[in-house]
């Protein structure tokens, strides 16, 4: 897993954080995106506001939160209310950005986090947690980012269940459905950074992480992903970013478990 001096998790985290712009109000769940948000706030986006579907506004936890329901988020927030209030602020157009994961992603950035395989929705092979706030975020936030590990099981030609709208069936489909947000602006995986073609809304590659080849991507993707002529290497994490991740933000490896410089494990 270790690529020279940083792990794939660290690369994903840093690449995710770079999407976050200063001043943005963002819905961010737990896991690597949470670490990425802490990192962005500690570096180029000090004025970003962390929001959660539970109605937690502008949380500034001292230490890494384990969950959206973690008391750290509530005890350090400027405002605490409930789910309706949190999601209606989103519905009202007050959220710039969200980060979403999922079990399946297709070429249009549609996400499945509900049901995989089997006889479909009512009798799937694998039932998952369901949308939660993800559909709301993808529909109503001004834009969103997908962060997911890159496997052929995840990157599929067509999601078995469309939980969370990317570009749906392609150009114009979000507008026809009446969705307010622009849709997914990128996909960060452990292989690279991807985007969506302006015209076709097909997923395309923006950069590959150090040590990753195009055939790695093809092998892990169940649909034709557009390859541009120029495919740079994702800029690696800086010394400062790695220092912050390893010694300040997640020193106990709550999420960055395979960091070479810290003990593996931590709580949960």
């Amino acid at each position: 897993m270790v690529n020279g001096e940083f792990t794939r998790d660290e690369m994903m985290t840093v690449a995710t954080g770079r999407f976050i712009q200063d001043g943005w109000k963002a819905f961010i769940g737990t896991g690597l995106p949470m670490v990425a948000a802490y990192l962005a706030k500690a570096t180029h986006a000090p004025n970003m506001t962390l929001m959660f579907e539970s109605g937690v506004l502008a949380a500034e936890p001292r230490t890494i939160a384990r969950a959206v329901g973690d008391p750290r988020l509530q005890s350090t927030a400027r405002r605490v209310s409930g789910m309706l209030d949190g999601l209606l602020l989103l519905h009202g157009g007050n959220v710039d950005f969200g980060v979403l994961g999922g079990a399946q992603v297709d070429r249009f950035g549609n996400i499945n986090s509900t049901a995989v395989g089997g006889d479909g929705y009512s009798r799937p092979a694998t039932r998952l947690g369901g949308s939660g706030g993800a559909n709301d975020i993808a529909s109503a936030a001004k834009e969103f980012l997908i962060v997911v590990r890159h496997t052929r099981r995840t990157f599929v030609e067509r999601v078995d269940h469309l939980t969370t709208p990317g570009y749906l069936t392609g150009p114009g489909a979000r507008e026809a459905a009446g969705l307010r947000g622009r849709g997914p602006i990128g996909v960060v995986t452990d292989l690279g950074v991807f985007g969506f073609d302006e015209t076709t809304k097909h997923m395309n590659a923006k950069s590959l992480h150090a040590g990753i080849t195009w055939s790695d991507v093809e092998a892990a993707t169940g649909f034709d992903i557009d390859r541009p002529d120029d495919l740079p290497t994702t800029p690696p994490p800086s010394e400062q970013e790695l220092h912050l991740l390893r010694t300040v933000i997640d020193p106990r490896g709550v999420y960055l478990k395979d960091s070479p410089t810290t003990a593996i494990g931590g709580s949960q």
Binding site: R66, Q74, P124, R127
Partner: protein, 311 residues
């Protein structure tokens, strides 16, 4: 004696409260993540043997999972059920995969607004999310959840949700008076909508307090007593989950369930040990032990228990 009206007390025993839930009722529970679920009530409901329930489950992963694990659930209107930091609610997922229960999926906002519409007596509620996704396209409930209508004030076709009213809402609060005016510290999940939407409301409370305590903090009262039918005193009523401001979740105990949930047999053994094998909530707390309960008490600034993670 309080200078405030104490009215006819709504306080009843846990057993009496659970006894009012009819077989086949539709239920909605408070709670979010690993916090604030009325789990002492859920265990009593399990002991009483009733089932055939429909759940309107937004964030109440633990009540939904335990009731489903015991085979008491037929249908779930849900938005998201998973265990934060652990993983899937395996008994529910297994029941869906085996065709033992049916589900109808929503977004969090969609299901929350359906409850709110019922609570406000609105015949429908507009929503701009869910549109275009399978949350709109697939509808498996007995009544439609989502339709599109023309806005009378613009040229838009807009999604609208139908109201959804649980027969009984059960919510756990930090403190309540004997009329059910209840304070929840920290985020309230969707308790505001649940208590307005439900035909009957049962409040379980960490502490029963005098009216003066409620009046002094009346800006913090999430549950209006006029909506409440019964109040139950349930200290550590969310255990092994946490209660914001009072005690942390017990991840070890929750993890024990999560491990057990890998197989039907292990779940049955877990329920036999932690639910059916104990007479009531008092026995449950005895089983946990005072030492462990006290270790879970949180610091009043950081709202975390010492030794359960750095501040």
């Amino acid at each position: 004696m309080s200078r405030y009206s104490t009215g006819t007390s709504k306080i009843v025993s846990m057993a009496d409260a659970a006894a009012t839930v009819p077989e086949g009722a539709s239920l909605s529970f408070g709670g979010f993540g690993h916090f604030g679920h009325p789990l002492s009530f859920v265990r009593e409901l399990l002991r009483q043997g009733k089932g055939g329930f429909t759940l309107h489950a937004i964030a109440e992963c633990w009540p939904a999972e335990l009731l489903t694990a015991a085979g008491r659930v037929n249908h779930i209107n849900l938005s998201n059920l998973m265990f934060e930091g652990l993983g899937r609610v395996r008994a529910i997922c297994r029941a869906v995969e085996n065709g033992q229960i049916t589900t109808d999926d929503h977004s969090h906002l969609g299901l929350s607004l359906r409850l709110l519409a019922a609570g406000w007596d609105m015949p429908f509620m507009p929503i701009r999310t869910m549109a275009g996704s399978d949350l709109e396209h697939i509808q498996t409930g007995p009544a439609p959840k989502f339709r599109r209508i023309a806005s009378p004030f613009s040229n838009e076709q807009v999604g609208v949700l139908s109201p959804l009213s649980p027969d009984v809402a059960v919510v756990h609060v930090s403190e309540a008076d004997n009329q059910g005016n209840g304070i929840i510290h920290g985020q309230i999940s969707v308790v505001d909508a649940q208590v307005r939407a439900a035909k009957r409301v049962i409040v379980t409370a960490e502490r029963i307090v005098e009216p003066e305590v409620i009046v002094r903090n009346n800006e913090l009262v999430t549950v209006p007593g006029i909506l409440v039918d019964q109040v139950v005193h349930a200290p550590y009523g969310a255990y092994p989950g946490g209660m914001y401001g009072l005690y942390d979740e017990d991840m070890e105990l929750m993890g024990d369930y999560y491990d057990a949930s890998r197989s039907v047999e292990a779940v049955d053994a877990y329920l036999a040990e932690w639910v059916f094998g104990l007479a009531d909530h008092a026995e449950y707390l005895d089983r946990i032990g005072s030492q462990r309960l006290l270790e879970a008490v949180v610091d009043p600034v950081h709202m975390l228990a010492r030794g359960r993670g750095e501040w």
